[in-house]
């Protein structure tokens, strides 16, 4: 069966598939032999030896086990390449902030230059994870291509373009720090919307309708959320719970909220406008009331599911920290507000965006359908 399928493939498909496999093989080879591209010394673990283990109980009566291992590893790059280094590592069975190493693992190390020992010694800095990220990335690409074929390919392209745009915009933002992040993200949102929708649906009236309704919906959502946060003075939002802050927190939060809601808002407007245009194409005499009713029905079908998608994307990420807080005997209310208040606010804002976009998408699509009718 597979051979028959292979025979049926056109030349173009052959070229595309071979190119993808070629990139895959090349990138895997590269990432397994790229130590010389890193300035930091990298060592590959040759053997490990368990030195001691100890039962520990912390002040909250949590029981855990800690271990000490000594590691022999071979330096893979730099002027000490080929030499063996002796390292020590401590880890616990929970592994929240530590790591057990096994032979074959690659690690970034700091070589101790003042050591008087005969062999090299040093300390472990971090694990080398690039090959795993790449491998899962390829698994993702193959699944999308296998299931979605051309559509999956377009989805990948749109993701790559959007990610590149985002990193480019952040570069600009960081270099010229006087510009507002919300302003930059607003421009980003417009570009994201136009690019993603054109790639998903091609150049046609339906795409124009969904671009218009997405933009109206997302900026209205930003307005509503901003008004609420402003009006309540951010009461109930625990910005202290935000991680990785190098900038004013409220602005980072708002900008993140804007981008985070965009996908769901886009989803609603595409679903509604594509269904309404399909109804119109099937029956060009369809009445406006019928279109409006179908549009609102479709909106009702998707609203619950989409809001739940956002809820889980945001809330799931705070599980590890909630466990750590509760295990350290933090009160429940404090744990919840520190870890979940911003996540819940994002999910709620996204939900509001979805709801506002439903009528906007229905009326925008009807407007564009009317324009199309007039021309005929």
């Amino acid at each position: 069966m597979i051979i028959n399928k292979l025979k049926k493939m056109s030349r173009k498909q052959w070229v595309v598939y071979s190119l993808i496999v070629f990139c895959f093989v090349l990138s895997i080879i590269f990432v397994n032999h790229n130590s010389s591209f890193y300035k930091q010394p990298i060592a590959e673990v040759l053997s490990t030896h368990l030195q001691s283990k100890e039962k520990v109980t912390d002040q909250h009566n949590n029981k855990d086990q800690t271990y000490k291992q000594s590691i022999k590893a071979e330096i893979k790059n730099g002027k000490d390449k080929g030499k063996v280094i002796h390292l020590e590592n401590e880890y616990s069975s929970s592994g929240a902030y530590d790591q057990k190493y096994k032979p074959g693992n690659e690690i970034f190390v700091i070589i101790d230059k003042h050591s008087k020992e005969k062999h090299l010694t040093g300390s472990i800095k971090n694990a080398k994870r690039d090959k795993y990220v790449l491998l899962v990335g390829w698994l993702f690409i193959f699944t999308l291509l296998f299931v979605g074929k051309e559509r999956g390919f377009l989805a990948l392209i749109s993701l790559v373009v959007n990610a590149a745009l985002m990193s480019f915009a952040l570069d600009i933002y960081v270099i010229s720090s006087y510009k507002s992040l919300v302003f930059i993200c607003s421009i980003l949102v417009i570009l994201f919307t136009v690019i993603s929708l054109l790639l998903l649906n091609g150049v046609n009236e339906m795409t124009y309708a969904s671009i218009t309704s997405t933009l109206l919906g997302i900026f209205l959502t930003l307005g509503v959320t901003y008004a609420v946060v402003h009006f309540t003075d951010g009461n109930g939002l625990r910005y202290e719970g935000m991680q990785f802050l190098t900038r004013p927190y409220e602005i980072v939060f708002m900008a993140g909220l804007l981008i985070g809601s965009l996908g769901a808002v886009m989803d609603v407007s595409i679903t509604i406008s594509s269904s309404l245009f399909e109804l119109y194409e099937k029956n060009e005499k369809i009445s406006l009331t019928a279109l409006r009713k179908s549009g609102m029905d479709i909106g009702r079908d998707v609203m619950g599911a989409l809001t739940n998608i956002l809820f889980f994307v945001y809330a799931a990420g705070s599980i590890p920290s909630m466990i750590l807080y509760l295990k350290n005997a933090s009160p429940l209310g404090f744990t919840l507000s520190m870890n979940l208040s911003l996540e819940i606010a994002r999910a709620l804002a996204g939900g509001i965006g979805i709801m506002l976009t439903i009528p906007i998408a229905v009326y925008t699509s009807i407007y564009f359908i009317n324009q199309k009718r007039k021309r005929i």
């Binding site: 902030y97 698994l139 299931v147 981008i259 886009m266 009702r300 609203m303 994307v313």
Partner: protein, 261 residues
């Protein structure tokens, strides 16, 4: 006034205005899901239970809420439920293996400052917690894809009652491809928005590309995005296949009964 309360009220009013009774149910489902999430976390605090098993059970309950409570119990939602469970089991096995080998569980060095006040030896396997987080982030999207496919395939069966098994399966795949792009988009932007602070942090502290790619936090977040995408893609053929199997079986049964009469 509390911002969260006002945002919830606005959402509730909008859902009732636009969705009526169904809107109300969607709003309640959010609360139920929140409750299940809390319950999951409490179960995970006990060191004797395997977090992965707890996650599987919670995912089953969450799919029940998303499928049977927002919609109804019928053939469409039941097959969507079955497909969700099959996909989740496949995915969680894969995720746990990969989280384990790629060393991305727990906290990265960027987070040490906030963690200073906590004891980290809490006796809970963070590899399993990490796998649970990845599954729970996508459960909403996975059930959504499943129900979209089974309900569209139901429509196809209604309009073409004598459609062949193969064509029915292909129609399910086609619907799946249509929603694949928008669903991956929804997930990506939601994750991008959530990671914005981290990305600005990397820019501000002038991380090199090598340092970013190998850092624990970035690796974990990229993998979460990738697995979310894998999940919504994987459920498409699974749902299309399971739904075809049950629809054809139901049709045969109906045909047999009408022949007997």
């Amino acid at each position: 006034m509390n911002a969260l309360v006002i945002l919830s009220l606005i959402l509730l009013v909008l859902m009732i205005l636009i969705g009526g009774y169904r809107g109300m149910r969607s709003f309640i489902s959010l609360f139920l899901n929140f409750g299940v999430l809390m319950f999951t976390i409490f179960l995970m605090l006990g060191p004797q239970m395997n977090p992965v098993i707890i996650t599987l059970i919670s995912c089953a309950i969450i799919s029940c809420i998303n499928l049977f409570f927002i919609n109804n119990v019928d053939q469409k939602t039941v097959t969507a439920f079955l497909s969700t469970i099959v996909t989740i089991v496949l995915l969680i096995v894969l995720i746990e293996v990969i989280v384990n080998v790629s060393m991305i569980q727990g906290y990265g060095e960027e987070e040490t400052e906030e963690l200073a006040v906590f004891s980290l030896f809490v006796g809970i396997d963070y590899v399993k917690i990490g796998a649970s987080v990845m599954i729970i982030s996508t459960i909403g999207a996975i059930t959504e894809v499943a129900i979209s496919i089974t309900s569209s395939m139901g429509e196809t069966m209604k309009h073409h009652p004598s459609i062949s098994r193969k064509d029915l399966f292909l129609s399910g795949m086609r619907i799946g491809k249509d929603i694949l792009g928008t669903d991956t988009n929804t997930l990506f932007f939601a994750f991008f928005g959530g990671y914005l602070a981290l990305l600005i942090w990397f820019e501000d502290l002038h991380y090199s590309i090598g340092a970013i790619v190998n850092s624990k936090i970035f690796g974990a977040e990229m993998m979460t995005i990738f697995f979310a995408g894998i999940g919504v893609a994987l459920i498409i053929p699974i749902t299309a296949w399971i739904n075809t199997y049950f629809s054809v079986k139901a049709r045969k049964k109906a045909l047999k009964e009408s022949n007997e009469n």
